[in-house]
């Protein structure tokens, strides 16, 4: 494939994807971002590093993850649906791909500690896991609200030897966990890597995380060929910051497939946001008329973020990907639908993508369309929350 023609290409030297991206960070962090960019560029061009990354994903991460034809759901909806099973990866979501890459890079840079932000806890658990594997010290920042609704994940991280810091500033959710991780990073940047969990933040994070996650899309494209299905008509993924979507889109961006990102209605940066600068990037953000960032509200902690990765903002602007919103009220139904029809309990985040497919079957999704959905995570972490919602006291 001709590199120059790639839709999801390497960003320019300022880290721009079209009008979005960049590096809007305090001077104290600029040298660390530059160091990281050059370390990643070298590592990603180093066959040995790439081979180690892939081998850890095979031997530890549970890759390749399978593709499951969703036969009963397909019949029910009049579609031809296939699921990329990231829920079967180690730690229960796609997050493991990124953290394996970033922790290997941490070692390569000679750093001994990682910090991370987490919303639902999936990225925090994945980071704690990958850090334990390499003997790196690990601290995870989590909004106080999220530590309550995802308390089992807090305990999981602690079991894995990580320290979890409850963040009480601002809205006490993911956005504030990112703020706090950035503030911590300023104080310890010489020995600590900030293991950012999504395709967001300052350059090179959006690009690097997409590259680590592109294993999803590359694998899926190959598997769809092996299944003799080929290029699907639609590729669908939920989007908070957008890492699972970026990962699967990367395998199909240069194909004829329509790319669909599904946001939570209360955190729909593409549908309801406007351009702005937050967390080191220029992207689409939920903000008020004065440029103050608004709080996102979603049933799922992982989509509770007022922004979106800059490459998604770019893909939306140039029309290569489409973004739609799903309200909280449709999410539990979609979770039950997939559980009962296919024997797969999806994460609440992932259920947004299922809800969109169910809603648009026969609408935007024509009869018998081939749909590849990224099952980004499993629902075990959400079971207590879902039970509470289904049995009103």
């Amino acid at each position: 494939m001709n590199n120059a023609a790639r839709v999801m290409d390497t960003p320019d030297e300022r880290g721009r994807f079209g009008n979005f991206g960049g590096r809007f960070v305090p001077e104290a962090l600029v040298p660390a971002c530059l160091e990281l960019e050059s370390a990643f560029r070298e590592a990603w061009a180093d066959e040995e590093f790439v081979e180690e990354f892939q081998s850890v994903l095979r031997q530890f991460g549970g890759r390749p993850t399978p593709i499951t034809p969703l036969r009963r759901l397909s019949k029910q909806l009049g579609l031809n649906i296939f699921a990329k099973r990231e829920d079967l990866a180690h730690t229960g979501s796609h997050k493991i791909n990124n953290v394996v890459g970033q922790t290997l890079l941490t070692k390569r840079m000679g750093k001994t500690r990682v910090i991370a932000e987490t919303g639902a806890g999936q990225h925090g658990v994945a980071t704690a896991t990958a850090a334990a594997r390499l003997g790196l010290s690990c601290t995870v920042f989590m909004g106080e609200v999220d530590t309550v609704r995802q308390e089992l994940n807090v305990f999981r991280m602690e079991l894995l030897g990580a320290r979890v810091v409850s963040v009480t500033s601002g809205s006490k959710t993911l956005k504030d966990a990112v703020n706090e991780a950035m503030r911590e990073w300023v104080t310890c940047v010489s020995d600590t890597h900030y293991c950012l969990g999504s395709v967001m933040g300052p350059h090179p994070f959006p690009w690097m995380v997409r590259e680590f996650q592109s294993v999803i899309g590359n694998e899926a494209a190959r598997q769809m060929r092996e299944l003799a299905v080929g290029v699907p008509d639609f590729v669908v993924a939920c989007v908070g910051g957008g890492s699972n979507a970026a990962g699967i889109f990367a395998g199909f961006a240069d194909s004829s497939a329509r790319l669909v990102g599904v946001e939570a209605a209360g955190g729909a940066a593409v549908r309801s946001g406007s351009p702005g600068v937050l967390h080191g990037m220029r992207s689409l953000l939920l903000q008020d008329e004065f440029g103050q960032i608004e709080e996102a509200h979603s049933i799922s902690a992982g989509l509770d973020y007022p922004g979106i990765g800059p490459e998604h903002a770019h893909l939306a602007e140039v029309g290569r990907a489409e973004y739609y919103a799903i309200g909280d009220e449709d999410v539990i139904g979609a979770l039950k639908l997939l559980s009962e029809s296919e024997g797969i309990i999806p994460a609440l985040e992932t259920a947004h993508a299922i809800a969109w497919i169910a809603r648009e079957a026969g609408g935007l999704l024509p009869k018998d369309a081939t749909v590849l959905v990224n099952l980004s995570g499993r629902g075990d972490k959400d079971v207590a929350q879902v039970r509470a919602m289904l049995s009103p006291s």
Partner: protein, 237 residues
């Protein structure tokens, strides 16, 4: 140079005047932002209070216009506040309100051209920070590009209170290699004795969290005046 968060109390303009009476050479005015990435708990809390009191960029500029002081006013906020307002409009509005310079801690030099053009068009200075982590060649470029003065971060930390001088001497020395622009030291400067020490290597200090903590704790304007005077006296000794 004391730092105050605009709107953190309805008396904030009176506190600015008191700081001038207490001997401030310039005043740094923080315009609150919802996600202050470079600020520690004290200034975060003050910004949150200010936002809850419906403080906006326009309300701050409006109140600054009522202020009659003869020292330079420097605005400090995060880039999104200006970006959302429109860079040219924001620069023009600040200048009309009597502000002479702006500090945008999340606007890295590489991304700063659009803002510098807008600010330059109305003679509003853009003040750049140099951090202890900044390599010497980059520090030289920052010092040469900074206008009015250069802000030397004394330590690798967000704003707050500290007891020592951190890396201030080294950061200032690096800046001096490339430029004779005045250098002010900030981040963690909270006591007159620190200011006195730091004034031996720099042109001045910026005192933020220690003052803001008093103001949001309910101290009156006379307290602010005497607090600033304690620094003035230490510097003049």
């Amino acid at each position: 140079m004391p730092y105050l968060v605009a709107g953190s109390t309805d008396q904030w303009v009176r506190h600015v005047e008191a700081a001038v009476l207490g001997g401030a050479d310039a005043i740094e005015i923080g315009i609150p932002f919802s996600d202050p990435m470079m600020d520690g708990p004290v200034i975060q809390a003050a910004a949150q209070i200010a936002l809850e009191r419906s403080t906006t960029f326009e309300s701050v500029c409006g109140e600054l216009e009522t202020l009659d002081v003869d020292v330079p006013l420097i605005a400090m906020t995060y880039y999104n506040v200006f970006l959302h307002h429109g860079l040219e409009r924001a620069a023009g509005r600040l200048r009309a309100a009597g502000v002479l310079g702006a500090i945008l801690p999340d606007l890295a030099m590489e991304e700063s051209n659009p803002w510098r053009e807008s600010a330059g068009a109305v003679d509003l200075a853009t003040i750049l920070l140099v951090a202890p982590s900044t390599p010497a060649d980059r520090a030289h470029r920052l010092a040469q590009a900074s206008e009015g003065f250069t802000y030397a971060a004394a330590r690798m930390a967000v704003t707050g209170v500290a007891r020592d001088d951190g890396d201030a001497a080294r950061v200032v020395a690096t800046i001096r290699e490339a430029s004779d622009i005045p250098v002010y030291v900030g981040i963690g400067v909270s006591r007159p004795v620190q200011a006195q020490e730091l004034s031996k290597v720099s042109d001045g200090v910026i005192v933020g969290s220690a003052l803001v903590e008093r103001i949001i704790g309910g101290s009156n304007v006379a307290d602010t005046e005497s607090f600033v005077r304690s620094f003035r006296d230490a510097l003049d000794e």
